[in-house]
Amino acid sequence: MSAPAGWEAVIGLEVHCELRTATKLFCGCRNEFGAEPNTHVCPVCLGLPGSLPVLSTAAVELAMRIGLALHCEVRPSVFHRKNYFYPDMPKDYQVSQYDEPINVAGYLDLPDGSRVGVERAHIEEDTGKTSHVGDTGRIHGAGYALVDYNRAGVPLVEIVSEPGITSATQARLYASELRAILVASGASDGRMEEGSMRVDANVSVRRVGDLELGTRCEVKNLNSLRSLSRAVDHEIGRQVAIVEGGGRVEQQTRHWDEDRGCTVTLRSKEEAYDYRYFPEPDLVPLAPDAAWVEDVRSSLGPMPADRRRAVVALFGAGGASDARADQVATVVELGLDHLVVAAAGAGIEPALALARTANEAAADAAAAREVDPAAYTALLQMEQRQELSATQAKAVLAELVTGGGAPVEIARRMGFEALAAGSLAEVVAAVVAEHPGEWERFCGGEAKLAGFFTGHVMRRTEGKANGKAVAAELAKLQG
């Protein structure tokens, strides 16, 4: 959706992305989701006196990968302390990059042809996880809170777009393309539901033609792409209604309530935080030299836009219209496009390879990414040669994804063993010879007797024959 007639929306997105490193940003504690609470903590990430942070090389590399994938300039950078009181950080400050971030001035091209500027992509540390307990469970009525610091100090990159997004649809497209890039660059698993990618939206509205920006509100708690587009749409509508009603939009931070489908005030400008940023004295500047930057640049694989083009190209000249765009987007986003490319390269119909990958393999994408492309191709070959029915092929594919192995073996184990064309012909001929009367009537036009012959062939082959193949043999014998 876009803004109501006569209005335009000005939207900027801030995306926090947890980096896939083995350790936290400044200490050797494991960076791992879902561990027992407070088992990945040490003096550094607990902010104990006398401890000193040391920056992780891997986090810097992944941050550079993100920056370079977004066409940013990688610059010398400095860490700052962002001071605030909240129990999610035991140090009472968060180490972040403030006025000298590592990546600046990039952009992101969206599948609809538009381009959104990226102001910066800087490194910072994540906070711990607080759970509110007691009363209603809602924040304001909570009796007390419990804190797990496993996530405190996990490396993040915050990607700040320019306020150049104009609709909820474009905001969603930006977030989904950015997620695909984060995954493709190896920086993140992009899982919004686990919080490894988190999106905040800055939204303001103005009348078409106005140059001055309206007062903006920041919307938080957007845990899915769907929440993002719903929340932005709602916020645009809310602000337009205020201004059209003669009111003024107040600068606020607002919280998206997914169940009620609206945004609610979290805090107003008067309560805005004063973070008193100052340079982190325990860390020295970070200044990757040109050789390191070029090293990282050359190790970046093709980005999602290029990979989508490569899948579409498998369909030949009519590719753009024949390849289903949603399936192409899915296989690239899930990192399964190499399976489609490998299969099509070995002679599988691109439409079959794309459909099986986008629908069946995608159901367990993490496991499917580990599947041997040769085995995957072999399976699709069995389906294409009709040695397996579509239903059988899907069942074998599910087995292949979860357990690996050779598709022929899996098919045999599942009782889908196909009969070689030669031996099937023999069985069909034998059945026909044993039932001359039925055969005569079948040849005389009693088509439903096909079922009679097929049934006998199935019994004799213990169900291993393919129905279509039996019909073909019968047709052959009829001449």
């Binding site: 490193t21 083995a22 350790t23 050797g28 504690c29 494991r30 027992e36 609470p37 407070n38 088992t39 990945h40 903590v41 040490c42 003096p43 607990l46 040391v54 920056l55 992780s56 090389t57 891997a58 986090a59 810097v60 010398p76 400095v78 605030y84 009181f85 909240y86 129990p87 999610d88 000298e100 906070t127 607080t130 759970s131 509110h132 307990v133 007691g134 924040i139 304001h140 909570a142 009796g143 007390y144 809170a145 419990l146 804190v147 797990d148 610091y149 919280h255 979290l266 805090r267 309560e271 935080y273 004063d274 973070y275 340079p279 860390l283 020295v284 500047p285 970070l286 200044a287 990757p288």
Partner: protein, 100 residues
């Protein structure tokens, strides 16, 4: 030299640091804080036109470590230091407002 810090600014800084100062204390501390800042402001009088800005007193850059996990602390040891604990987590007083 920058303008002297006012009583209101001192109150604001105290609030940021979660210090609950009485009126008397504000009257006493505002000039003291101003004095400290005046002292530090002497640095501003030095001619630094030829000195490049620096973020750190040591001429070091890129102090990095390999991304190799090391054992964390024993949770029992960690939580033993906390005033209150529940379910393997730090128990803290009711929180007013949301995370920044």
């Amino acid at each position: 030299m920058p303008a002297r810090i006012t009583r209101e600014e001192t109150a604001h800084v105290a609030r940021l640091a979660r210090l609950d100062l009485t009126d008397d204390e504000l009257d006493r501390y505002a000039p003291q804080l101003a004095g400290v800042l005046d002292h530090a402001a002497q640095v501003a009088a030095v001619d630094t036109a030829a000195t490049p800005p620096t973020a750190h007193p040591f001429p070091l850059r890129n102090v990095l470590r390999a991304d190799v996990p090391v054992p964390s602390l024993d949770r029992q040891v960690v939580l033993a230091e906390a005033p209150a604990v529940e379910d393997g987590r730090f128990r803290v007083p009711r929180i007013i407002g949301e995370a920044p």
